[in-house]
Symmetry: C2
Subunit: 388 residues, 2 copies
């Protein structure tokens, strides 16, 4: 009778081990409460839980993440990570596994996902143009060979994408509802557009110009959008800057009736009227702003700064333009990401190896996550915003 | 040896049954892609998957859902369902189980969740006032006994709530960051406010008045907000209407630079300038509008109508105000909910027992869900919007 009892005990043990393993593995995740942090030095991605301020997984195998960006599937389950080396990697946030990866070009600059979540597009420096992939399978769906370095790729409502060519100064608008889409080509955006943004309502596309002063604006609600120059004094600044020092346009913040944007080569944030795009004020800041990001709702704008003043954040009151708070989270602040309704903000402090979390109302430090050279922070709530 | 073999086989059978059950149960759900549909006649709630256009669960036990509304936890996992009978029920969308329920008053009118997701507030007709609960446990946290029917309860950025009293015409603003919050009481909103809204940036609170013409507006960015009357011609209409026919203010749509709102007692949608709140145009419609809802991005406004013309939807172009599409989904259209980036819309057709899903670009029918007298449709993306 000894061996049957032993085998029964063995099965009981196995059963409980299995149950325990299942119980651990099935700790459910809520995709609407997740995000990712790019570890730029090691090419890894952290999956983070916004609610608990914790890291759920560290995932490797994304290639060169020195200039990475991320979009999310509509259900928040998958992150599409765009690397500098042309890699497009699909990460399952529920399991922490990479479920697809293609090297789609030699040198890429960012991507976008269509408003219906079915298409992922990537803009390329080398060989240029835009390539579009099925979001489920990462199979290649379409290519737009522009013959030029391509920047400022964004999603536009109606399963469309917009992007702009550095060399030719053209913006192309493609409607992926068409079976064999013919791009609408808009010439005359200006000399050497280096970056572009779309406003949160998907209506206004704005390109920054490296080769001339000012910016170029398109109203995408027009049937045939025509470029219009705005902010004639905004450009390379008094001393022409190298292109890598030009401000990211995604740093524009819509706050109340105004946009806040980093001045070029100056220690200032500019305020524009959101209808006329004319300057209505300036705020003197600690350093040269890199990002000016509105707390959701727009009541304040948070600003970080270029090297060597990049250990500081300033918070501006939108109504008055005043600096209402200054503090030093640590060396090399690279990125700030707000919780979707703005109650807290996560800050990448690269050279401290930390992501710090602050209450936006009291400015108290409420959490901290260890990360290897953290740069971009991206929350899944971006899946539900136009142009992010 | 027979009994030990039998017991071994029993354990093997149990093991596989357990494994199979776990495998079934662990089909993962992505909370960012979910929603709920209220079945008003039966007091049940459907959990729906936006991606697959399917019902995942039908859950019963919510009490009287004849006038129900829903808010979501920040991670999209839990729906808080507010019933007409004062019931507050917490539903786990991952498991389909009710995990908490309190009857917190005799007659309630709706609720809100704080921007940090920790507090759920409910506005009551009987006995009046607002009661606040811990979102995790549903334990009672605070009460504001206003001694009056309370309407227009919304979340305000900074862990605050605003609400308004029908009887006294006061709006109260409470800051739940304070340990023992003292309400800021704003008098003089007007006679018998019947509903209120807050704009998507959390700045402007607008109350509709039953007892007089016009609306009352507060700028919550002011330190001491003061009521301002707008739209003096907007009110009970040429023929005074019963209160239950006054338009829901949540039906206001911010579209481009304008708000679209249902006219009172007329077959018209009004257009207001979003800065001045002055009327800038009108569109003649099929019937008396109930909801005017902007497609996310604001390019179009979708409108449904009051009985007996409630089988029709019209789509208005925001730029021109023109009606660009009219169609008849079926009898008794009660609600429309857009996908977060607006590529599709879900429509409750109560008397057809269906929720119909349309592509907003082509107007094609792309999906259909059977539901018992469906009314409100709520997607989890609301968790990440201010004032919803």
């Amino acid at each position: 009778m000894v061996r049957p009892i032993a085998s029964t005990l063995l099965f009981l043990t196995l059963l409980f081990a299995f149950w325990f393993n299942q119980a651990l593995a099935s700790e459910p995740r809520s995709t609407a409460g997740l995000g990712v942090v790019i570890e730029r030095a090691t090419g890894a991605v952290l999956i983070v839980d916004r609610s608990t301020h914790t890291v759920l997984d560290q995932v490797e195998g994304f290639g060169d993440l020195s200039h990475a960006s991320v979009v999310f599937s509509d259900d928040g389950r998958y992150a599409f990570v765009f690397g500098r080396d042309g890699g497009l990697t699909k990460l399952d946030l529920l399991t922490g596994q990479i479920v697809g990866r293609v090297i789609q070009s030699g040198n890429a600059i960012g991507g976008a996902i269509s408003d219906d979540g079915t298409l992922v597009a990537v803009a390329n420096y080398e060989p240029g143009g835009v390539r579009i992939f099925d979001a489920d399978t990462l199979e290649h769906v379409a290519s737009f060979d522009t013959g030029a370095k391509t920047i400022g790729l964004v999603d536009v409502p109606g399963r469309r994408f917009a992007f702009t060519m550095w060399d030719s100064g053209e913006t192309w608008l493609v409607d992926m509802n068409q079976p064999d889409p013919e791009p609408l080509i808009i010439a005359g955006m200006g000399e050497n557009p280096y970056d572009a943004l779309i406003t949160g309502d998907g209506r206004t596309y704005i390109a920054g110009l490296f080769g001339e002063d000012g910016l170029s604006l398109l109203d995408l609600w027009e049937a045939e959008p025509t470029p219009r120059r705005i902010l004639p004094g905004y450009g390379r600044g008094e001393e022409p800057l190298p292109v890598y020092k030009m401000p990211h346009l995604e740093g524009w913040a819509l706050a109340g009736d105004r946009f806040a944007l980093p001045a070029v080569g100056r220690h200032e944030v500019l305020w524009l009227d959101s209808r006329s795009f004319e300057e209505v004020g300036r705020t003197a800041t600690h350093g040269q702003p890199v990002f000016a990001v509105a707390r959701p709702g727009g009541r304040q704008v948070w600003v970080n700064f270029a090297h060597p003043l990049n250990d500081t954040i300033q918070v501006l009151d939108t109504a008055t333009g005043d600096v209402i708070h200054s503090f030093q989270p640590g060396p090399a602040i690279l990125h700030m990401e707000f919780a979707p309704r703005g109650n807290e903000v996560w800050v990448s402090v690269r050279d401290a190896g930390k992501v710090l979390i602050y209450d936006t109302e009291t400015f108290a430090l409420t959490g901290e996550i260890a990360a290897e050279s953290p740069s971009g922070i991206f929350f899944t709530a971006r899946a539900h915003r136009i142009g992010l």
